[in-house]
Amino acid sequence: MSHISPKSVYFTIFGSLMALTALTVYVAFQHLGWLNFPVAITIAIIKASLVVLFFMHVKYSSKLTKLLVGSTFFFLASLFGLTMTDYLSRAWVTSPRGTTTAGMLPKLTAAELPAVSEQALANPEALFGATCGSCHSFTTKTAPTLAEIHNLYANDSAKVVEWAKAPMRKRMKFEPMPSFAHLGEARLKALAGYMLQQAAAGPPPQ
């Protein structure tokens, strides 16, 4: 005959599941950064394991049952994992023909950079096209669009300059933005001003 658990076991497991549910909600509201997701999943896995082992009696089941239940996760893991080998490594491709790649541009040499003078930087359109504009446009799929940049920064060109010197990576979908600190403060200010101006003006009429 199969194992009959005492009622107390079921109630204890139920209590644990309730506690873990409360825990997962509580933790969700804590600032753990990237840890929030793994913690939530871990709690879910623990809860699921309790249901499987005690409510579904796997703890008292045959070796075959245990083997079958365990092997499911292997196949699920291969579905997730191998699919992710594609998506997580797409951004590694630096060829311009990659799917979500920005195409790493060679840094402009000193000779190619315009002089740092008011006159040279009055109209930074060409410089913009060779630097920021190569990734940021209104229709780009490989970096935030100018519209999004306008949403984020409005007129705050100082913040844009700070970002361009030391870009962080907030959107995993895009390849990391390289630093443009080598352009120097003056050029970056001119570029930032120009970019925000272009962004505010909106896309050209169709």
Partner: protein, 236 residues
Amino acid sequence: MPDALAAHADAHGQSHGHAAHHPALQHHFETLEQQKEASTLGMWIFIIQEVMFFGGLFTAYMLYRIWYPEAWSEGSAELDIVLGGINTVVLIASSLTMALAVRAAQTGKQKAIVNWLIVTMLLGLTFLVIKGFEYEHKWALRHVPGLNFHAEPGQAPQVEIFLSLYFALTGLHALHMVVGFILLAVIAWMAHKKRFSPEWYTPVEMSGLYWHFVDIVWIFLFPLLYLVDRAHQVAG
């Protein structure tokens, strides 16, 4: 593996060593034990394929969560965490009552089987009603992808993908609950007719396995859908 020689029943169903041929024993099996083992194994394998079934949706979820953390954050924030939480508690409670129903069958408590099954069904129904309210609310907010989706201004555009997966996952889960509900109704009726005994209660146990599986899916859906980035952090 039972000793099939000793338990041999010939083709005319004559009784053998110990108990007479139980009415639930199907003739291609040698013993009730073998039949029960076969049923249990079969149900587990079926559950495993259900896991792979949901697995495809989880794969899509995982990819797009990585790609669109803001959309996920915004989409999740618009789900009612209180209703979701209540549903989680309700469903886990229904797993408890289901386990107690199986236990009642194991210990031959005929009325208790029926009662616990009915409670399980009522809890399941509660879940579905609450879900109904959530869906209705989503419709009112024009958050249903494809059908009446209307993007809020300033919202990450990929929220529609989040919602597509929300409805696909919870809808499929709800469908499984409806099937489970019907299954439990049938089993409860059989229990009412006193068909089960400590010697044979396999259908109760199998329904239990199915019901617990449906609960487990929700155990994952709740944090994955309702608890994304509630502390308002951006991923990365």
